[in-house]
Symmetry: C2
Subunit: 345 residues, 2 copies
């Protein structure tokens, strides 16, 4: 259809073989078998000649040809709600690092947390013949995942967990617990939670971790104290508007399950004439790079985002290699800053 020029031919095994007066299969054996295995593959002297030439001419095997034979592409697919969510972008750094170290390359696509897009992007990844997938956008219902598991597609979840599938996540319930304890200790007795999207385990687990501990401490969480919301700044602002406009429930502290939602809540508080860190405590989640740098620095639950990404890759590779894989939950820590440091009297 288009008349684009093909890329110029690179050096091939055949070229190397011809240059050295060897058969391509011999060259392949030497280059393919690394380290100890290579000893049996060819005479040491031959092996050395081959390797020297390969290095000299910058030989790099054609991955398409290789995977056509081996049926492995060393390609991994990553699907996230959106990469412009800093949390996922940071996790992706961990993925890239770990995948690279293992000789894999990664595709990333945004699904916008929309079921149709999730399917579409997954199909594209599969049509590319990825060896496995990492989903950062799993919904608690898990419908798509069940289908994929039936088709024997290799995948793991990241950031958000779903019952029955391996996942690398933060211990979100623990994070919520830490926040509840902190706010209680600082003297708060009336609180609200900006709870996030109910289809995401992160939102549900952080919220339930908080609620459970709060009640254990003797606190109450009336219906009006839980406001579900989008994960972004606008979502947080809208939720905080709702909370701060409620005349019946007047919290002295707000826990937002996401830093961006917390930032939106800070904006709403300012608009309501409340000084965050004095009139109202706010705590976020993930301790993104912004939290510490805000005009009023934001307390936040620090989750090991990069580590979660790395772990997801390791789990996926284990799955691809046929091993059984256990879900991993990494422990968060609470970082207290100006936004919630004050003692309520």
């Amino acid at each position: 259809m288009t008349n684009r020029k093909p890329r110029p031919a690179a050096v091939t095994l055949k070229d190397l073989a011809a240059e050295l007066g060897l058969h391509p299969s011999t060259v392949s054996r030497i280059l393919h078998a690394e380290g100890d295995t290579a000893r049996g593959a060819a005479a040491p002297a031959t092996a050395q000649r081959v390797r020297d030439l390969a290095r000299a001419v910058g030989y790099s095997p054609d991955p398409q040809a290789k995977s056509l034979r081996t049926r492995q592409t060393h390609l991994l697919g990553v699907i996230v709600p959106r990469l412009s969510d800093l949390v996922l972008a940071v996790m992706y750094e961990g993925i890239e690092e770990a995948a690279d170290a293992a000789g894999y390359s990664t595709f990333v696509m945004n699904s916008l947390d929309n079921a149709e897009m999730q399917r579409r992007k997954t199909d594209i990844m599969l049509s590319r013949r990825v060896d496995g997938l990492i989903f950062g956008d799993a919904h608690l219902d898990g419908d798509i995942l069940t289908e994929l598991a039936e088709q024997n597609v290799k995948f793991v979840l990241m950031n958000r967990a779903v019952q029955g599938f391996p996942s690398a996540t933060c211990d979100d319930a623990l994070g919520g617990t830490l926040v509840a304890q902190h706010l209680w200790d600082r003297g708060h007795r009336v609180v609200s939670v900006i709870a996030g999207e109910p289809y995401a385990s992160t939102a549900v687990d952080r919220t339930s971790g908080f609620v459970t501990r709060w009640k254990a401490l003797g606190g109450e969480i009336p219906e009006a104290a839980l406001v579900w919301s989008r994960f972004d700044t606008i979502g947080g602002r809208i939720a905080a508007e709702t909370i701060l406009s409620d005349v019946a429930h007047k919290p002295s502290a707000i826990f937002a399950v996401n830093d961006f939602a917390a930032i939106g809540a800070m904006g709403a508080a300012t608009e309501h004439g409340l000084l965050v860190g004095r009139d109202l405590a706010i705590v976020g989640f993930n301790d993104t790079s912004l939290a510490a740098q805000l005009p009023i620095s934001l307390s936040s639950v620090r989750s090991p985002m990069t580590e979660i990404g790395r772990t997801a890759v390791q789990m996926l590779l284990a799955t691809i290699n046929g091993g059984p894989v256990e879900s991993v939950r990494l422990a968060p820590t609470l970082v207290v800053r100006e936004s919630s440091a004050f003692q309520r009297t």
Copy 2:
């Protein structure tokens, strides 16, 4: 080395051909030639049978096999400083969209603006046999780019421009101009610029656009008014510290060439007892999603980030198809908000 199981075999052309009693080449011709071209490729009835079966069994051609023959992978490489920079993440959304629409898939890697990493990541992309590359991390010296051009690698630049190579960017100088005019009109006469990294055209052009207009209006820009900095929040905070601690040069307004740097500057201002939007005006750049939602909403130059990503893909595809390509500079607009709306008296 590892004993992973190969992925299960998918339906192949041969399978389809056998099922229909045709030769694989016939099936290939029909499926390969789309629309009108297909008419000549086979009898309409045959073509229909083939297409029906292909759809029924969910045939999807093996991209590795296809590209081994055609020497095109329909793979694009994208290298950015880091995806956790929201600006690049949003541009990547445009890239993904446009690439997807054109039947291409994209790899993304972070180079951390480090020359060694840029080389390493580029090599990985090339070893994957990408059809072309988009660089979002170009440095003004352009050393690596010159080498690649000599090797006839197809690429375009995005976000940051370098003389002599095609790029899709915002008209950064114009953005700087808009800010200078705005601050002048609001009555400011002493200003400072948080200028970003001197190796990035974005930083240099935004700054020079600002300075040029400022001087044209009759203003002065002493040496101390320009502070180079990292693009992130911490960088902005440090730069603002320097600016606000200078007893000789007391600006009433700060232009930060990046929203995150602007947010850092807001933090520093607060620490210095200045109320942003009353004692000090601050203007950022890119109008990222956060700007409008901050406790004190941030004025910012809005750049068409998604569009820049899309444009980069279109330019790259044109380059791959052998066409000559012109650089594109998309126009920004200024969005004035609380942080700089006041009139200085």
